[in-house]
Symmetry: C2
């Protein structure tokens, strides 16, 4: 967990524009932003570097700073947290996205997890996933809200000496009556906007979907599942 002080330091650096580019600033300046001395700012900065949140290099008049991927993710987490906090409480979480061509690997995994999915979701999944790309900000927030709701966890297992991790699922309804689930693989795709759907049927064929068609998903709360 990132400490409050480190987080504030990160936020101050980001405020200078370090998310999109490298920025040059002095420790005195950073200290002023944080309301601490130059020395403390220097130390705080060093902490962020040690934690792998910031890259620092030296320049004649100041320090060149750049947020790392992890640093940016840290800020994104808080942004999403705040968005979720301010989102009006809703009964329904609705996600709108566009049908996207997958990498084809989905089918392989669905096949391996088929029995587990059957037990957890109550249906035998069609061997393939439908990939949905979230485009607008509203749906992106809806996805965050979904991820803050209690997930359905499909336990991992070992198969032929290989370990398959837990899979996080969220039940959704597609159209009026098709039950499906969004599955989220463990390996965190760097805040990917692509959702993978499994369903008891071939959604593409059943709904006559083509790439770039719009699809609407309604998240089903766990307690109602």
């Amino acid at each position: 967990m990132t400490s409050p002080e480190m987080w504030f330091t990160l936020y101050a650096i980001a405020g200078k524009g370090a998310v999109h580019r490298r920025v040059t600033m002095t420790t005195r300046e950073l200290g002023a932003m944080l309301g601490v001395s130059q020395q403390t700012a220097s130390r705080r900065l060093a902490e962020c570097v040690r934690a792998g949140l910031v890259l620092k290099s030296h320049s004649v008049n100041g320090t060149i700073l750049q947020l790392t991927e992890e640093g940016i993710r840290e800020l994104e987490r808080v942004l999403q947290g705040l968005e979720a906090v301010f989102a009006p409480p809703r009964d329904e979480i609705v996600i709108v996205g566009k049908v996207t061509e997958g990498l084809g690997e989905g089918a392989y995994y669905v096949d391996i997890y088929a029995q587990k999915f059957q037990e957890a979701l109550g249906f035998r999944p069609f061997p393939g996933t439908l990939n949905v790309r979230v485009i607008d900000e509203e749906s992106r927030r809806a996805v965050n809200m979904m991820k803050k709701s209690p997930p359905l966890i499909v336990p991992g297992f070992v198969h032929e000496g290989r370990t398959f991790g837990d899979v996080i699922c969220y039940r959704v309804k597609v159209g009026e009556d098709i039950n499906a689930a969004i599955v989220i693989a463990q390996r965190t795709h760097h805040s990917s906007d692509i959702l993978e759907l499994v369903a008891p049927v071939n959604l593409r064929r059943k709904l006559g979907l083509r790439n770039d068609d719009t699809i609407t998903l309604r998240v089903v709360p766990l307690h109602r599942a």
Copy 2:
């Protein structure tokens, strides 16, 4: 300035849903969320109360907490800061809103500030303001971006023994060629979604605008003004 610790405390409480309703929690629980002891959580909470960010009342099994307006604003500030930080750098800030009926007091103030506006903006303002209500999230973010850009400050003055404060302005273009300015009065309207426009002409008549008509404003960067 809110300290990092206080801010984190606020954020933790908000995460429990205290933005929309009152929540009950123990100081032990809060401490666990913050990674500190029950005693420290208690003290942090007291700091937030002293700072006017949280309202606290006692209950048998825990503490009833509610964020104050100021506490919510504090979180909003960070949310907006993060949104601005993550927004892709753009050449143009575009705000779309709907024409709204004003309170009529705008004209009075424009009249009093007329000379000052003339000097700062380069045009004599039509005696009246056009009120524009921002509706969608995207424009709301655009407004935040605008507010993070360097403002044009019309200095205040004393007139007949009464003090008139500074006025913050942002130049905008309405349509293709009408120069106007968004004026923001000092007294902070609680994160109001209403913008007040001054222009050298009667925008309502010139553009044939009626209430609820959509209007598009393009913010003019100061260095290009």
